[in-house]
């Protein structure tokens, strides 16, 4: 593959043991003054090289905004606070010229809607080639063309050489998403952020795209952040899962542990919302109440009004995310800081 030497960061080689991505106290608010809405209320995440992380939550939980803010792709009027470090380099507040060297080169992004994410007036070949040329301007025309064919082949598009001349409207949704992925990985990014990459696709195609993402991440040693509201998508895809609620990470566990023994009441509720094929008689449960709004929440845990385990303290103290990496939880009751009031619930030991 083509190297990214032309866009290598200026700060030198990454130190050993330094995480690839380190998010600290990230906040995103929309608007200003008393009417400001806060979509992301301080999240901390760490991602190692080649690691994959799932970001799960309802609509409006702040999943997309928090990841968009990593490369400052927030919509106009959104303000970001906190710190995002890629290999130790702060990305928040970076000048736009430097940001452009990060976008697409060090961090690739795949969006939700492949039907409209490609420019309709150019062939996909031209668009893939453009993605390469932006970050590797030194390559010759034939080198770029060769790299484009290799990319289309890498995302398993049949007859890649012929497809270069296709326009987006000639391709199916799944094929277009493959092209989007090809563009995202064109410069061998260290981190690939996929924002609900399969939401707009058929179920059968979804599985193919997820397989492709997992395979590419492994082959190219890319770290992967998969944003989704579908826990079924997460299972078997990623190493770790962070569950978000109302702009906060409420539980962060390894995937196997999360599914085997969810601890946060919200995670439990989410998992109980998945229909079980192995237990056809089990009822699919909903979560009572409605999702948190972006308005400043009342004091206490944002999930407390909907939480079956909530005790008085939950309405007064907003729990911090505590614990070892890969086993962190933000819940007073589940972490044992406050005694559960109801019998039968896991309480303090």
């Amino acid at each position: 593959m083509v190297s990214v030497a032309a866009t290598a960061p200026a700060h030198g080689a990454p130190r050993a043991g330094e995480p690839l991505l380190e998010v600290r106290g990230l906040t995103v608010s929309i608007g200003r003054g008393p009417d400001a809405l806060t979509a992301v209320r301080g999240i901390d995440l760490t991602l190692q090289r080649g690691e994959s992380l799932g970001l799960v939550g309802e609509s409006g939980a702040g999943k997309s905004l928090s990841m968009l803010s990593v490369t400052s792709l927030l919509p106009r009027g959104a303000r970001v606070g906190g710190s995002v470090r890629l290999e130790g380099r702060e990305l928040i507040g970076l000048r736009s010229r430097e940001l452009r060297r990060v976008r697409g080169a060090e961090i690739g992004m795949v969006f939700q809607d492949p039907m409209t994410s490609l420019n309709p007036v150019f062939t996909i070949g031209r668009q893939v080639e453009e993605a390469i040329r932006i970050h590797q301007p030194g390559l010759s025309r034939s080198e770029v063309a060769k790299a484009a064919v290799a990319l289309l082949a890498a995302v398993a598009i049949p007859a890649p050489r012929e497809r270069l001349h296709s326009y987006p409207f000639e391709l199916s949704g799944g094929m277009r998403q493959r092209v989007m992925i090809a563009i995202a990985i064109a410069n061998n990014p260290k981190l690939l952020i996929a924002d609900e990459p399969t939401t707009a696709l058929d179920v059968t195609i979804q599985a193919q795209i997820l397989d492709l993402l997992r395979r590419l991440a492994a082959e190219r040693e890319m770290a992967l952040v998969l944003i989704t509201h579908d826990l079924g998508v997460i299972a078997g895809m990623v190493d770790r899962v962070a569950v978000m609620y109302a702009g906060r990470v409420v539980e962060e566990r390894t995937t196997a542990e999360l599914f085997a023994s969810p601890r946060h009441p919200y995670t439990k509720a989410l998992l109980s919302c998945i229909p079980r094929a192995d237990r056809p008689d089990a009822r699919v449960l909903g979560i009572p109440g409605s999702p948190a709004t972006l308005r400043p929440p009342p004091p206490g845990c944002a999930f407390a009004p909907r939480c079956p385990d909530a005790v008085d303290a939950c309405h007064e103290v907003d729990p911090a995310l505590e614990g070892e990496p890969g086993a962190r939880i933000a819940c007073l009751v589940a972490s044992g800081r406050v005694a559960a009031t109801r019998p039968g619930e896991p309480g303090p030991r």
Binding site: R103, G108, E130
Partner: protein, 293 residues
């Protein structure tokens, strides 16, 4: 047309074939418009080599009706009306193309900047647009003629000033909508620079309405320039300009042929460019692809 499923195989095939032979946007008026427009352009480019008479010197007795020697008769100075009409294309067509090209260039620049950058840049550019739109074409033409003297070139400048704000508004509106498309966001995420975003991902998608309007405006500029010449603000005698020729003809009511040539010329050119513009709209705009002709 009946539904394709109800057609006999032969009929269906014929329908498909005829559609392939002539695409839907290429309606009869469009073909007609193309023929007339191309015809006028060819005339404008080549008339000097095959014109039978001089456009400015007398070639027969004055005020003679149509005959074999003078197909559209002669005017009050004995000049051949047909020759003068054909030479008129050399005045009107270059003016039309120059005015539209100038208007589109300035309009694209202004509308592009306003739409792409938004904010206070947008506000300033669009207030200039509003200001310019407040001046009627005739007033500006009079100002130009008064300060620079009469002549088609000065009229052209006035028309560019009148026309560019229309294109600026059109392009700005298009850019505002294209700018929000997901593919633009995807391009930003891929690291595209602002200039590349504008040039590759926004302008090609926003330019179509401008192209259609510009085509229709070619005819409109011919009409307006002739109108200004008619009231004495444009071309000066003895230029064979259509508006001027019609003005000359106003004194000779019973010699109808003098005004016939330039009148038909203006009519045919305005219609031709309108038809072509309509065809282009059908070609580019899927929503109005139902043609009634």
């Amino acid at each position: 047309m009946s539904a394709a499923g109800l057609l006999l195989p032969e009929e269906g095939l014929a329908a498909v074939r005829s559609r392939r032979a002539r695409p839907g946007w290429l309606t009869t008026p469009v073909v007609l418009g193309l023929v007339v427009a191309v015809g006028w352009i060819v005339v404008a480019l080549t008339i000097q080599w095959w014109a039978p008479y001089s456009p400015t010197a007398p070639s027969g007795s004055p005020l003679v009706g149509p005959s074999g020697a003078h197909l559209l008769g002669t005017d009050e100075l004995g000049r051949d009306v047909l020759t003068r009409t054909l030479y008129g294309a050399r005045e009107s067509l270059p003016l039309a193309f120059a005015v539209v090209a100038g208007g589109v260039s300035i309009g694209t620049l202004a509308g592009g900047i306003a739409g792409f950058f938004g904010g206070w840049v947008d506000a300033i550019v669009m207030r200039i647009v509003d200001l310019t739109l407040a001046f009627p074409a005739i007033l500006l033409a009079m100002v130009m003629t008064a300060s620079l003297g009469p002549g088609l070139f000065h009229i052209g400048i006035a028309l560019v000033i009148v026309w560019w704000p229309i294109y600026a508004r059109l392009l700005r509106a298009q850019i505002l909508s294209v700018k929000e498309s997901p593919h633009v966001e995807a391009a930003v995420a891929a690291g595209a620079s602002r200039w590349r975003l504008f040039r590759v991902h926004i302008l090609p998608l926003a330019f179509t309405p401008l192209l259609i309007n510009a085509t229709i405006d070619l005819g409109q500029v011919v009409l307006l320039a002739s109108g200004l010449s008619f009231i004495g603000l444009g071309a000066v005698p003895p230029t064979p300009e259509w508006g001027l020729m019609i003005n000359d003809a106003t004194g000779f009511f019973y010699q109808w042929w003098i005004a016939l040539g330039p009148g038909l010329a203006i009519l045919s050119i305005v219609l031709a460019f309108s038809f072509i513009g309509d065809g282009l709209r059908d070609l580019f705009d899927v929503r109005s692809s139902e043609s009634s002709w």
